[in-house]
Amino acid sequence: MATLASRGATASHDGDAGRTLNLTLQVWRQKNATSAGKMVTYEAKGISVDMSFLEMLDVVNERLIARGEEPIAFDHDCREGICGMCGMMINGIAHGPERATTACELYMRHFRDGETITIEPWRAKAFPVIKDLVVDRGAFDRIIQAGGYITAPTGGARDANAILVPKADADAAFDYAACISCGACVAMCPNASAMLFTAAKVAHLGHLPQGQPERDDRVLRMVEQMDVEGFGACTNIGECAAVCPKEIPMDVISYMNRDLLRATRRKDREAKTSNE
């Protein structure tokens, strides 16, 4: 316990331990999916710099509950940056000001005493607000269902190394598989486009031998579903990669475009041959 408690203090600046902040929060409050929401101001006093952003919200919520008010609803689960549940616009940036950081791993030491912090839910037609900061990211699930998987017979575990994967491909696939589907890319994109997410999934399976048999259908279906969900059109601005907590790079978008164009050419060639 002693080591856990000192972790935050070690990582913070010298003399930071025990320092507290008095903050003003402007939070989007919305009762349910159909009601109109608004920004509500809260005072958050005595916030330890060693708290995570979500712990700060926990403290604010405890005080709200004690006052008999409705706590601020927000999504969270693992609180160690790997589940993709948390996510909110903090001061106008998805997951807040730190790069490669989820909201749960963002520490309050990155904020100034007396600062006003705005907190808003992800904004996209495809991500409707359910309550306060909670949005429905089912659109991402439906993109995955459209083809972001491999069809494989289940049964006994296969022998390791039965399918050889070159090291470079395994590394690349792993980099893209790091996507936690948090939705920050969509939230930050000026076009509310889901290209980085969809491309990461396409590139992940596209780098592996298991992903090859369904590669063409996968990209065609996932892109189609992405459009059906009402996401915007990519203009290659790069805000997505800038806020991605897993640092998925912009070049996956080029990779997906390449896959889509290749799949289109192959489909047309197949149709031509089957007609002959």
Binding site: Q26, W28, M39, M89, N91, G92, I93, T118, E120, R123, A124, K125, A126, V129, M188, P190, N191, A192, S193, L220, V223, E224, M226, D227, G230, F231, G232, A233, C234, T235, N236, I237, G238, E239, A241, A242, V243, P249, M250, D251, I253, S254, Y255, M256, N257, R258, D259, L260, L261, R262, A263, T264, R265, K267, D268, A271
Partner: protein
């Protein structure tokens, strides 16, 4: 063919149309700016060059045949580029019905943010440019068919004509700085190891084409060409 038609219905398919037409217009601009610089060779050579553009391809093509073929290709490219841009913009606007109260930008550049506005400036510029120096109907000064050198000099002796051209070239430079890189990204040609090269190519293209377009108006403004 069915798959290609289906491709156009997707957002990425429309982006592909923008990238391919973008490449056509980009290649044209390189030739156009290079040709413009012949104004420094003097009236006779510049007018001869402009007349050559009408006979180029002879005898396979008769007079102005190839010129008109290129004009049609360019016109179709511009129309497709704009139609796709409008459709994609509508999609993007509709994709975020509720705006953020506080929204910042991190990696967006001035160029990437202003693609649509820059495109609009370039659109109006193209119309004016054709009326000004191709048809002569909106020409400031005396327009004489065939004396391209004289028309250029008389047009750019008006400060407001020069100012609008410089503004349009600035918009074009920014449009190319994002667009040239973006088209390789859209066509799936860009890769991590080539990224710096395409960014560099975009910067060089923006400076040479946007800057190159400013050279002739500035040369007339400063009296180097008269």
């Amino acid at each position: 063919m069915a798959a290609t038609v289906a491709l156009y219905r997707t957002s990425i398919g429309k982006k592909t149309v923008m990238a391919v037409t973008g490449i056509i217009l980009y290649l044209f601009m390189i030739l156009h700016i290079y040709g413009n610089l012949k104004v420094f060779e003097g009236r006779e050579k510049f007018n001869a060059y402009s007349d050559y553009l009408r006979t180029v391809g002879n005898p396979i093509f008769f007079r102005t045949e190839l010129l008109w073929t290129i004009r049609v290709v360019l016109l179709v490219s511009v129309i497709l580029h704009i139609v796709a841009a409008v459709q994609l913009t509508q999609r993007s606007v509709a994709s975020r019905p509720v705006r953020y109260v506080n929204k910042k930008e991190t990696d967006a550049t001035f160029a990437s943010r202003t693609m649509r506005w820059g495109g609009l400036v370039i659109f109006f510029f193209i119309i004016y440019h054709i009326l000004d120096l191709t048809l002569g109907t909106a020409h400031s000064g005396t327009y004489q068919q065939g004396d391209v050198y004289g028309n250029v000099v008389s047009g750019f002796s008006h400060w407001y004509v020069t100012a609008f051209y410089l503004l349009a070239m600035l918009a074009l430079g920014f449009h190319l700085y994002h667009g040239v890189w973006s088209m390789f990204q859209t066509l799936g040609i860009n890769r991590r190891k080539y990224n710096r090269f395409f960014r560099g190519l975009a910067l060089v293209s923006a400076v040479l084409i946007g800057g190159g377009g400013c050279v002739v108006p500035l040369a007339i403004l400063t009296g180097i060409v008269s």
